[in-house]
């Protein structure tokens, strides 16, 4: 417990730094440093005094790109997670609270989406829709809600089976009362945990889509950098400085979200 809290605090600290970078980087980095037509440095420089993470295939500083990419990756991760968790919570509560045909249909759809390989679907969606951040968010969001829905539904059912809900019903409470006063407050912490973990998944998914060349090519994200690295032959050139930093950034941020999520989970879940 305490260990995870420590890990959770560490994760939160990392996230704070990442968020700070995401907010500050666009302010500090001039457009010239990102514009391939204006950079003057030689491409494929290994790390040195001037560029301490080296330069990419166009001569841009990798360090600058990583900082700039934080915003995109975090934005996609957060919005996709919010979308997924939002849909999931709605579906979960509705199918858990109301019985009958609606719930049955919702459950069927949830199960269906649950078994569909999310990555395959996300790839298909991002091929169909026009390129852009919105598409990525939509593709990830629309494919990752079912697990949340399942979990929220289970929690809703658990709560509904609790005597205090029966007591509330016996007091004369209706659907709005039961959902608003009892179900939602009990679901929200779990949803929060779920959202945190969903951000982690979404960031990895974003990088995967970008790597497969389905990202928004006009934006710099960590996944897009890896895509570029692969496209322009970073591996055969042994340009580790172009390959490592974006990947490490992904791992660190995703790990941080996971740690925070687990710490929250430990707090939220009642101890046995």
């Amino acid at each position: 417990m305490s260990r995870f809290n420590r890990a959770g605090v560490a994760g939160a600290a990392i996230l704070a730094v990442a968020a700070l970078v995401a907010v500050v980087a666009p302010l500090l980095i001039s457009a010239d440093e990102l514009d391939v037509t204006r950079v003057t440095a030689a491409p494929w420089q290994s790390p040195g005094a001037e560029f301490w993470l080296g330069t990419d295939h166009t001569g841009r500083s990798v360090a600058v790109l990583v900082a700039q990419g934080a915003g995109t990756s975090l934005f996609v991760g957060l919005t996709a997670a919010v979308l997924a968790v939002g849909i999931g919570t709605l579906v979960g509560v509705v199918s858990g609270h109301f019985g009958g045909l609606v719930a049955g249909a919702l459950l069927r759809i949830t199960d269906f989406f649950l078994v569909l390989p999310a990555l395959v679907l996300a790839i298909a969606l991002s091929t169909v829709l026009p390129r852009g951040l919105g598409t990525i968010v939509l593709a990830i969001g629309l494919t990752s809600w079912p697990s949340t829905a399942r979990m929220v539904r289970a929690q809703t059912l658990t709560i509904e089976a609790r005597p205090f809900v029966e007591r509330a019903r016996a007091l004369g409470g209706g659907h709005v009362h039961v959902i608003g006063r009892h179900v939602l407050p009990s679901v929200v912490p779990l949803v929060l945990v779920n959202a945190t973990l969903a951000v982690a998944t979404a960031i990895v998914a974003e990088s995967t889509l970008a790597f497969l060349g389905l990202g928004d090519p006009t934006r710099i994200s960590w996944g897009a950098m890896l895509h570029q690295a692969q496209l322009h032959g970073a591996v055969p050139q042994r340009a580790w400085w172009f390959l490592l930093p974006p990947g490490v950034a992904i791992v660190v941020v995703v790990l941080a979200f996971t740690l925070v999520g687990r710490a929250l989970e430990a707090v939220v879940t009642p101890k046995r």
Binding site: R3, P117, L119, A124, L125
Partner: protein, 320 residues
């Protein structure tokens, strides 16, 4: 306590899911913009008549609902249509690529399951020990690693030790031993990549599953009987805790097939994932929808198997 798995209900549900997969597969890829015939013939001397001929060959000139009807009826016969790219029945193309994927995913799953469950049990049993902290930490980190990136790193790190692509060399002697060793040699990096990522998940699941059981009263009973610690673990705790993990393994197996897309792309492993990636660039409608139907169908079937298996493994669940 007694939970029943209604066999017919499950079968019906799975069948419904398969139908939905088929419908989704058809429409999703019909929404993809672009004329596949134009993509195919790009950069070659082509006349309008030739394009029309190609369209007719693939039935693209018929109205959508007719296309759907013929698609659906042939699907029932196991005919997935003809691939644009390979000009062969989609079912054949997929079947051909199934072997490499099963080899990769199968090997990785076996190793990952063995290793992951073993590590998970160890870690949970000695909760908060150095071993637990180390394995949990590593697993959480690996879980955060994008698969393709890990693959690229491994490729860069191992330099020339391993082949960078494919499943076999073309100049290996044709005898079985040489071929098998060659395939094994090619298999090392891709399966290592998959194992690392999948194993981490299995480990975490096994660990948390066992932690759930750690305070179960029947373990106290077992201890009170005088059982050694490792016997308590092996005979009592693990048989209970492993059930959810096994279910997960089955569920994941289908998903891993789909998840092998990135690994196969990085290592040019000639399996379904690579095929999927190739089909996307076409766009090869029939191949794409065939792949979606097959992979999602596999997951649906695995799902069903997982539930039925659960009924066999867990005496509390009866299949009726």
């Amino acid at each position: 306590m007694r939970r029943g798995v209604r066999l017919w209900g499950r079968l019906g549900g799975a069948a419904l899911s398969l139908v939905m997969v088929a419908v989704l597969g058809f429409f999703l890829f019909r929404v993809v913009p672009g004329d596949p015939v134009v993509s195919m013939t790009r950069g070659r001397p082509t006349t309008a008549a030739m394009q029309a001929e190609l369209r007719a060959q693939f039935g693209l000139d018929r109205p959508l609902h007719e296309q759907f009807f013929s698609y659906f009826t042939s699907l029932l016969r196991g005919d997935l249509g003809t691939s644009f790219t390979f000009r062969r029945p989609v079912a054949d193309v997929i079947l051909e690529r199934l072997g490499p994927t099963l080899l990769l995913v199968g090997t990785s799953t076996v190793i990952a399951v063995g290793l992951g469950l073993w590590l998970g049990v160890r870690a949970a049993w000695r909760r908060d020990s150095a071993f637990d902290k180390a394995t949990t930490g590593v697993s959480l980190t690996l879980w955060a690693v994008p698969t393709f990136w890990l693959g690229m790193l491994l490729m860069m790190a191992t330099g020339e030790l391993f082949p960078s692509r494919g499943m076999r060399d073309t100049d290996t002697a044709p005898d079985f031993v040489s071929q098998a060793l060659d395939v094994g040699h090619h298999l090392v990096l891709p399966s290592l990549t998959l194992v690392a990522v999948v194993c981490a998940e299995y480990m975490l699941v096994m660990r948390s599953s066992l932690l759930e059981e750690m305070h179960a009263p029947y373990l106290t009973t077992a201890r009170a009987k005088g059982l050694r610690d490792d016997l308590v673990r092996r005979r009592h705790a693990v048989p209970n805790a492993v059930l959810p993990a096994i279910t997960l393994v089955f569920l994941r197996f289908g998903l891993v097939v789909a998840g092998a897309i990135t690994t196969e792309t990085v290592f040019s492993w000639p399996g379904l994932g690579l095929l999927f990636y190739d089909a996307l660039t076409g766009p090869d409608y029939f191949l794409l929808q065939g792949l979606l139907v097959v992979t999602a169908g596999a997951v649906v079937v695995m799902n069903l198997l997982a539930e039925l298996l659960y009924g066999v493994l867990d005496p509390r669940v009866k299949v009726v």
